[in-house]
Symmetry: C2
Subunit: 214 residues, 2 copies
């Protein structure tokens, strides 16, 4: 049994893997198709990382597909009932990139809720408001990253919250899974700032935070 | 001509007035019904504050009703065409307080857009993500407050952005008025944290910020 399975070998996969290893977790890293990509990232990361490809058994008790929403749906469909009992972390921002005007999920739903409809895993929304580039250090301008979390299963939420803490981040449990609707709108806002050429201070390396009074 | 007209005498009215005076602006303060409330707040504030009641001519070039969304609609209806040419700052979060589950505006709209449909003023969304208690100092834990701004009229947006800067805050112009949809979801999220008894660190005095890399 591994602690965490990460699917994908892109920037978010790298960032999540760095934090998992910093937290002392064992990691299974599954490439989409080409195992050599997982091997290359594992070599770069060091630490306890087993590699494989999509379709291999998920050994982690927590699985984090670090892919876009459409790919996440495919992954969930492909693994089917085998994800039962797993904690599934949905990190996606289902931005409609054809218009960049909104989200591609129904207004009264969210990517996380759509995924929950098609998987027996315990879906938890998290990490959709943290840019990949910030996960390496786990902080921006000296401030720990907030990890905003929404989920219906208490033990699953606690597992993700515990992971974030162990990884040197600040978990904030926002509420039930339907609050992913707000987290995805906040994630979209975060993306809009970095995509806006008139805001040169935002370069996909900023942090969305809720700062408590001192 | 006054710089800024604030309608209402509650905590957000006080906070906005404090920042307006800190920015060296002249303020007209209109109570909802009872002028003595405006007089009392003006006396507390010091500075250049003219008082009156709702229904008096709006002398400010920028008008900020510091009221709930339903009251804002009434104000806009009442002033009708007389608001033409004014910059109207919509600070509301149209949370459905009967369910606390979402917003009371259509999913493809926002309070700001709904107000724009019924007023000739230039509506700008701003200050819906800053809690009243934080506006007095203009900062939380030593960090300047972000003021997230959305609007369609360039000069109106510039006026609000300039006001925020002069008031010692950090304006971030997010985009056109329809981006108020995201700002209101983010404002809702901000409210949810303080309303959540399981998050004792959030007490209606926290700050939502987008922190650029150093």
């Amino acid at each position: 049994m591994t602690d965490i399975t990460i699917i994908g070998t892109g920037n978010m996969a790298r960032g999540l893997a760095v934090r998992a290893l910093a937290a002392g977790k064992s990691v299974q890293l599954l490439a989409h198709e080409d195992k050599s990509k997982a091997d290359a990232l594992a070599a770069e990361l060091g630490g306890q990382v087993a590699t494989g490809v999509l379709g291999d058994s998920v050994t982690g008790s927590i699985v984090m597909p670090a892919v876009y929403f459409d790919a996440a749906k495919d992954i969930v469909s492909r693994y089917g009932e085998s994800l039962e009992g797993k904690v599934y972390v949905d990190i996606t921002n289902p931005v409609d990139f054809s218009t960049f005007e909104g989200l591609s999920v129904p207004a009264d739903s969210s990517a996380a809720e759509e995924l929950q409809k098609i998987t027996p895993a315990k879906v938890v929304k998290a990490f959709n408001t943290t840019f990949a580039a910030t996960l390496g250090a786990g902080e921006v301008d000296g401030q720990q990253l907030d990890v905003l979390i929404a989920g219906d299963d208490e033990s699953a939420v606690a597992a993700v919250s515990g992971f974030a803490s162990a990884a040197g981040l600040t978990p904030i449990v926002v509420g039930p899974l339907r609050r992913a609707q707000q987290l995805e709108q906040a994630g979209f806002l975060n993306i809009l700032l970095s995509a806006n050429e008139q805001l040169p201070e935002f370069q996909w390396n900023s942090a969305l935070r809720f700062i408590p009074a001192a």
